[in-house]
């Protein structure tokens, strides 16, 4: 029965992907792409990767959709007359994509079976961290350095986006809300965030012992914040606002501080003192969740469009 289910899911995913590519209307293609992101979440669950499923649903159904639709709205009317690719060009792209897909498929089929794995080692050492979720243990204990650098990269990306603002309005706020906020949007922005914030906090808290964690929680909170800003219920923050910058830097800064503290109270950089691993990890995760939420929301909101309020 499960095999049948998996086959049906795979067929559905392929059909939906084809639909996204073949759809002529950009907005319809983006909406179908949103559906594809949500469907991919189901596939990750069947692949026994609930952590990835949560991330896929939050990113694919949340930020990406808004990002693409805003990009489409910005591009509409501009350069619509110049037809993009010729038939030959499209065929060349299709052939290139097919070759990459075939290569990836071949690579996956050629993987050693059983695959070399560090999962038993990760599970054996998990007691020392006091965590229950091996994914969180890998992210914040065994491979904490990768996670630290990753969060810094998110900040760098945000600096890159902010730099696109013209000189005169540097440090200003992005413009996210439409000129006239439609009634349904304002209604949704009042109804959904209370649930979303609770779910986001829950995702963060449950991450120590079950699938979930910083990134998933941060994405949910970012989506809810964006929703409130887009409905015009809260003004978007100035990029120069000290409170925003404190939240953005707070997570990585706390992470770095605790990492250096490891030299004094434990074995070295990024080492946690025995018995204190879990409280420290939860503290880092709390600060990181807020940083990730603020960074993702600002990434989607884009560069400044208004001069900063002084």
């Amino acid at each position: 029965m499960m095999v049948l289910l998996d086959l049906a899911l795979a067929a559905w995913l392929l059909a939906l992907a084809l639909h996204v590519v073949m759809e002529r209307n950009e907005r319809s293609a983006i909406i179908a792409f949103l559906a594809l992101g949500l469907l991919l979440g189901l596939v990750w669950v069947r692949l026994a990767a609930p952590d990835v499923a949560l991330t896929e649903i939050a990113i694919g159904g949340g930020g990406t959709g808004i990002l693409l639709l805003r990009a489409e709205a910005a591009l509409r009317g501009r350069g619509k007359h110049e037809e993009g690719a010729t038939r030959g060009g499209k065929l060349a792209v299709a052939a290139g994509c097919a070759v990459i897909s075939a290569g990836l498929g071949f690579a996956v089929l050629a993987l050693a079976s059983p695959a070399p794995t560090l999962a038993p080692a990760a599970s054996d050492a998990i007691a020392a961290t006091g965590l229950g979720n091996p994914v969180t243990a890998v992210l914040l204990a065994y491979r904490a350095l990768d996670t630290l650098l990753e969060k810094v990269v998110v900040l760098l990306a945000l600096v890159g986006i902010w730099s696109l603002a013209p000189d005169g309005i540097w440090g200003g706020a992005p413009e996210v809300a439409p000129a006239a906020v439609p009634g349904p949007l304002a209604w949704l922005a009042r109804i959904l965030p209370p649930f979303g914030v609770v779910i986001g906090v829950y995702m963060f808290w449950v991450g120590a012992d079950a699938p979930g964690g910083t990134f998933q929680a941060g994405t949910v909170l970012a989506a809810m914040w964006l929703l409130v800003i887009m409905a015009g219920l809260l003004p978007p923050p100035d990029a120069a606002s000290p409170a925003l910058r404190l939240v953005l830097v707070g997570g990585p800064a706390l992470f770095l501080a605790i990492a250096f503290l490891g030299f004094i109270v434990a074995d070295g950089f990024l080492a946690y003192p025995e018995g204190f691993a879990k409280p420290l990890i939860v503290a880092i995760e709390a600060a990181l969740t807020l940083s990730v939420a603020a960074a993702l929301a600002m990434l989607v909101a884009g560069p400044a469009r208004k001069a900063p309020a002084r």
């Binding site: 049906a8 909406i31 949103l34 949500l38 979440g41 939050a58 349904p184």
Partner: protein, 94 residues
């Protein structure tokens, strides 16, 4: 019992898939958006059944997030300053 639950999930997914493609091909933009809502409902239902079948509580969290983001996806539709009101009305078939 797990077999029965998985079969029920398969039926829900199959029905959702058929309906999804019918709705995605609609000429009315609002109906295309409902495709995402349909996937949110059907997907969450299938996930809850699968979670019960495999006994993994994490699946229920995934269903929770799926429901939340399907609702959130509506925003993407409402949020379009360039969209003139009633753009789709001439296309609507009686």
């Amino acid at each position: 019992m797990p077999e029965f639950l998985a079969a029920a999930a398969l039926v829900i997914l199959a029905v959702t898939a058929v309906a999804l493609f019918r709705v995605l091909r609609s000429r009315v933009a609002a109906e295309r958006m409902m495709a995402v809502q349909l996937l949110g409902t059907g997907g969450a239902g299938a996930l809850l059944l699968l979670g019960a079948a495999s006994g993994s509580p994490a699946t229920i969290d995934v269903a929770l997030l799926l429901a939340l983001f399907a609702a959130f996806a509506c925003v993407a539709f409402v949020l379009d300053p360039a969209e003139p009101a009633g753009e789709d009305s001439p296309e609507e078939q009686p």
